[in-house]
Symmetry: C2
Subunit: 112 residues, 2 copies
């Protein structure tokens, strides 16, 4: 895998429905790898690969105790992803609002 | 390329700094492929590939006139991406707030 910036790693991690479902599962609290794998009909190595991608993006943390290994969520990386998307959406929406106002103004001038 | 759900395509498109820079550029209005390529020291086929990924995700629209081909932004796919991220962030933040309150309550009980 190539070395990528943190934001790209987060978007990359979210670019898969299985990984998004795993993150959704973890909203209810920490889970073992077995619990996370349970809903999916995919091999254990594939599950392991998905968890690696999530861990590399900083979206999960894996801890091992004497008895078992659990995964927990980390929300911080989502903040950066959200910031980027929101920043772009907002400015675009502002542009559309501006365009909309200009068209109304123009229409007003024409109607007058 | 594999057939992927729309949300995955959007996150995949955002998982690259060059593609994100192209989208940022397009916030200022439509641009030609040459204008979009200008800041990057990468080959024209590589630029073309990035544009294909953005187009497949529905984030840009390419139009060809007699004189030139331009790219324009489409913001709708970002709404779905934003919704997903926000939904997960919000619920996690609520969980942390709840945990925080419980810890405060516990501390209050201990201090009393």
């Amino acid at each position: 895998m190539d070395a990528r910036d943190e934001l790209s790693l987060v978007f990359q991690a979210l670019a898969d429905p299985t990984r998004r479902a795993m993150l959704s599962h973890l909203r209810d609290g920490a889970a073992t790898v077995g619990e996370l794998a349970e809903p999916f009909e995919i091999s254990r190595p594939a599950i392991s690969q998905h968890l690696k991608v999530l861990e590399r993006a900083g979206l999960i943390e894996r801890t091992a105790t004497a008895q078992w290994r659990t995964c927990t969520l980390r929300t911080e990386p989502l903040d950066a992803a959200s910031d980027w998307v929101e920043r772009h959406r907002d400015e675009w929406n502002e542009r559309f609002d501006l365009l909309d106002r200009r068209l109304r103004d123009l229409k007003g001038t024409t109607d007058a």
